[in-house]
């Protein structure tokens, strides 16, 4: 890549190339902010300010990791003079990352932390709006819908009754387009039944309303069953899957939240994995082969069944053996429903490292890409963009960096890890069809922003910004 060559050239004469402003940095040590603001900071040009912010963020992270609160505080002070939620990309990113870091620091004083958050009201309508904006501003969900629907249609070839389970039924657009495709079926539209799972009843009501209206318009037989539940508490009976029916499962950005449950289970059970809060991660360090991994997991599962209910844990709900759900169990339960196809869309980033500094670094890259997406497509003064950045990305960043254990829900992992999990649960990868990929490609091209790219890997599709892979879409069938 010519880019790399240029960078190599840069390295040759690096010290001479560094700008005068960077030399300025060296004159004034960054962490000296004991009250005296540096006026020169204001005059920094955007690029240098960006670099400086990166430097400061990492410095701060190190301080927090080393529990040097004084230094961390000083660094945060410095950053606060440069970062801003309505500045340029790097400034915005820095604003949210420092908020996350500060949140992390504050968690050491749970009383203060809780007090500061005691009057925080999170409005359901805001969350709904932000999800809608995410759908609109980015192509990710749209491409996911295209590929999911195509995979479902192909798997359900010839079926007259289709049952789809949507693990996050919030955006009716996906199923509306499916209804439209199905209504054009040469033999007449097959009967479609969708079971939508969501935490909020209002959302399901809206989705139901929209879909039923659409189905009536198209005159296709349609039924919507809402299931109000969190994924971890999902009662599979409520899904009402009939034996032998043609079932498809669509999971969009949901499964990673289950990984938080794995933490607790693993930590409690296996001394081998005790030191790290992410057992799966550790497996990769050791030259462990698959069967050993299986055994380990199995042992954990069995022992979790026989565990006594009064072992200490931060979450009493997961203590009861009957309630202890983890990813493995969930996937097994999905497998036992015998779906014809399961299409999974997940973030393709490694935000589940055991140490928060790893996560911070990874997140810095991923969210830099996401913020760049916004910068390239939405004007800076847009209130909607601010909302997405703050209420969606900001919250994710905070969760990734500041939270641990069960609280940390945003456990994004790379596709190869998901491959392993699905494989263990008895799923076999179903490569996405040529036609599906073609449709997705065409959509991306017509989207108009060339920086969005689509890669194919192992029969799965990765959606990237520039070269950074952000989301993965893969299809699975239950392997008997």
């Amino acid at each position: 890549m010519s880019l790399l060559e240029n960078l190599a050239m840069l390295q040759e004469g690096s010290s001479s190339v560094t700008s005068s402003a960077l030399k300025l940095f060296s004159m004034m040590p960054p962490s000296s902010g004991f009250g005296s603001p540096h006026p020169w900071l204001k005059e920094l040009k955007s690029e240098e300010r960006g670099l400086y912010l990166i430097h400061l963020l990492l410095t701060c992270a190190n301080h927090v990791a080393a529990c040097n609160l004084e230094h961390a505080n000083a660094t945060l002070e410095q950053i606060s003079m440069l970062a801003s939620p309505d500045g340029d990309t790097m400034q915005r990113i820095a604003a949210y990352f420092t908020e996350a870091l500060a949140d992390r620091i504050l968690k050491a004083w749970p009383g203060i932390h809780k007090a500061l958050n005691s009057t925080r009201v999170s409005m359901v309508s805001e969350k709904i709006l932000v999800q809608k904006l995410f759908f609109e501003f980015f192509p990710f969900l749209k491409v996911a819908f295209v590929l999911t629907n195509q995979a479902i249609i192909e798997a359900m070839e010839g079926e007259r009754m289709i049952h789809i389970i949507d693990l996050n039924a919030a955006e009716p657009a996906q199923w509306i387009s499916l209804l439209q495709v199905l209504s054009a079926h040469p033999d007449g539209p097959p009967h479609l039944r969708i079971t939508g799972v969501h935490q909020k009843k209002e959302v399901l009501d809206q989705v139901a309303h929209r879909l039923i209206a659409e189905a009536e318009k198209l005159d296709t037989p349609f039924q919507f069953n809402p299931v109000v539940s969190k994924l971890e508490n999902l009662d599979f009976e409520k899904l009402r899957v009939k034996t032998g029916e043609a079932l498809a499962i669509s999971s969009i950005l949901q499964l990673h939240t289950l990984l938080a449950l794995d933490d607790e289970t693993m930590k409690r059970k296996s001394p081998l994995l005790l030191k790290t809060s992410n057992g799966i991660h550790l497996q990769r360090f050791h030259p462990i082969n698959r069967s050993t991994f299986d055994n380990l997991l199995e042992k954990d599962l069995i022992s979790s069944y026989t565990r006594s209910p009064d072992s200490s844990s931060s979450s009493p709900a997961s203590l009861k053996t009957s309630n202890s759900m983890n990813t493995e169990m969930f996937l097994n339960a999905l497998w036992s429903l015998s779906p014809k196809v399961m299409v999974v869309t997940e973030q393709d980033s490694n935000h589940n490292g055991s140490h928060f500094t790893d996560r911070l670094l990874e997140a810095l890259h991923s969210y830099a890409a996401l913020f760049d997406c916004l910068e390239s497509t939405i004007p800076r003064t847009s209130l909607e963009r601010f909302r997405v950045e703050k209420l969606l990305f900001g919250e994710e960043i905070k969760n990734i960096i500041a939270c641990e254990g069960l609280e940390r829900k945003e456990r994004h992992e790379k596709l190869d890890k998901w491959f392993m999990r699905f494989d263990l649960a008895g799923f076999g990868n179903e490569p996405l069809s040529y036609f599906g990929k073609l449709q997705a490609r065409r959509f991306m091209q017509s989207y108009g922003c060339e920086a969005y790219r689509m890669k194919e890997e192992n029969g799965c599709v990765l959606i990237c910004w520039q070269d950074r892979s952000l989301f993965s879409i893969s299809a699975w069938r239950s392997r008997k």
Partner: protein, 449 residues
């Protein structure tokens, strides 16, 4: 008493013979709604009887009464002779009523209603004419008491959404709001008035088109419109041309933004008319026309950018090199003036190895040994500009523990000695030399194993 047709005698037979709905557990379900008492007398009144309001009329003042008893009591006031009839028999015979309308569910004795007033109201409501109208909301009612009850609460408790829809229930209001277009419209109006830099750096190309479409697409698209991506275009061309002519006029009056919204709405429909294939580029051009003709005052952002454009160009020639390469040609938004965050991170990695490595290495540098590394002793590490690097980094990050750890300190020491330059003082100030800074972290890492 006279007008009534008494259909008697088929109690048990009918109720039991109809027993698809009345299972043999009748006795337990007495008098529950929907399950009439099997012992009761089933009465079918004629429609005339059911709808009659005042059957008993006073001869003096012609006032009507529904019941004979009431009429008698009224006659007392006229000093007329009156007589109250007693109950004829001692036994209380339970009566249930069926609806005379044959198509009605309640026609069947098993679905008979237990109350005379009830059956009357039912008949009026379902099979009668709606004569009563609410003045406030023009809703019609057949039964006067329904109408009265409604008009008491009509308009008292209301939630109004900005789009004009009124709700009497709080929950449906809340749900509606979340999806309401009006919300989007309002914010788009605000955006339109404050939003400036569609032509931030005077750049043309698809980017601007993107802007407009993306930004204004909010307007009609939150909620109903967007998800119906298949809607054909209602009116495209003339709206667009209107916009073009008007755009030169005012800076950002709400009209302008509104028109932009309209025009772009149609553009958006164009784009999404075909779910998979879009006409993006054609509509882009139109949008571009629109926006470039709107001249808006600069905001700080803009000014800063303009300045930094020149100065950055003076400073370093390389950043503009890779900032333009870094993104596709159409993305002028992030030029040398405003490097994208991704580009900044990469640059930080490059420059940063000399500058920030002491800090990065502590947390990151352990990943140095990515296999594709050809750049000497600089780590591209986590900042690898290609995805290949990135993914392998992660792999290598995790493999460091297994073997590379011993090598790390020596490599770092070498680097530390290498560079005295830019960040020297920084490191010192932080109180930790490069060497000192690392072990802390390494130790922590080792604990994790």
């Amino acid at each position: 008493m006279d007008n009534r047709e008494i259909s008697n005698g088929f109690l048990h037979e009918n109720t039991t013979s109809s027993s698809n709905e009345n299972p043999p557990i009748l006795k337990r379900k007495r008098n529950l709604p929907g399950n009439p008492d099997p012992e009761a007398e089933v009465i079918s009144l004629s429609p005339k009887t059911l709808m009659a309001t005042n059957r008993f009329v006073c001869e003096i003042c012609l006032k009507g009464f529904q019941r004979d008893q009431n009429l008698q009591l009224h006659r007392r006031g006229h000093n007329l002779p009156w007589k109250l009839k007693q109950r004829t028999s001692k036994e209380i015979r339970k009566r249930v009523y069926v609806c005379p309308e044959k198509t009605c569910v309640h026609n069947h004795p098993s679905r008979a209603l237990g109350d005379l007033t009830g059956i009357k109201k039912h008949f009026c409501r379902k099979h009668g004419e709606k004569k009563w109208k609410c003045e406030k909301c023009s809703k019609f009612y057949a039964v006067q008491s329904d109408w009265k009850a409604h008009s008491k609460t009509c308009g008292t408790r209301e939630y109004k959404c900005d789009c004009g829809t009124i709700f009497s229930r709080r929950d449906s209001f809340v749900t509606h709001r979340a999806f309401c277009d009006a919300l989007a419209e309002e914010t788009a109006r605000i955006n339109g008035s404050t939003n400036i830099n569609n032509s931030l750096l005077g750049m043309g190309g698809n980017n601007i088109g993107n802007y407009n479409i993306m930004q204004n697409s909010l307007v009609p698209n939150i909620g109903t419109h967007f998800s119906s991506i298949f809607k054909p275009i209602s009116c495209t061309n003339h709206e667009t041309t209107n916009q073009t002519s008007r755009s030169g006029l005012s800076l950002w009056m709400s009209q302008t933004s509104h028109d932009t919204i309209l025009a772009n709405n149609s553009n958006l429909h164009e784009i999404h008319e075909n779910w998979v294939f879009g006409n993006k580029f054609s509509s882009n051009n139109e949008c571009q026309e629109l926006t470039s003709s709107i001249s808006l005052p600069l905001v700080n952002n803009n000014i800063d950018n303009k300045d930094s454009t020149t100065s950055t160009n003076n400073l370093v020639s390389v950043p503009s090199l890779y900032s333009s390469q870094h993104q596709s040609q159409s993305h002028h938004q992030t030029t040398s003036a405003n490097m994208s965050a991704t580009a900044l991170l990469q640059k930080a990695a490059q420059i940063g190895t000399t500058s920030t490595e002491s800090l990065f290495l502590g947390s990151l540098g352990l990943r140095c040994n990515s296999p594709s590394q050809d750049h000497g002793n600089k780590f591209c590490g986590v900042y690898g500009s290609s995805s290949v690097l990135t993914s392998s980094d992660l792999g290598s990050a995790e493999s460091y523990i297994s073997g590379e750890l011993s090598q790390m300190p020596s490599i770092k020491r070498r680097r530390v000695q290498n560079e005295e330059g830019v960040w020297g003082q920084t490191r010192d100030f932080l109180g930790v030399g490069g060497a000192n800074h690392l072990p802390q972290f390494i130790n922590r890492r080792m604990d994790l194993i």
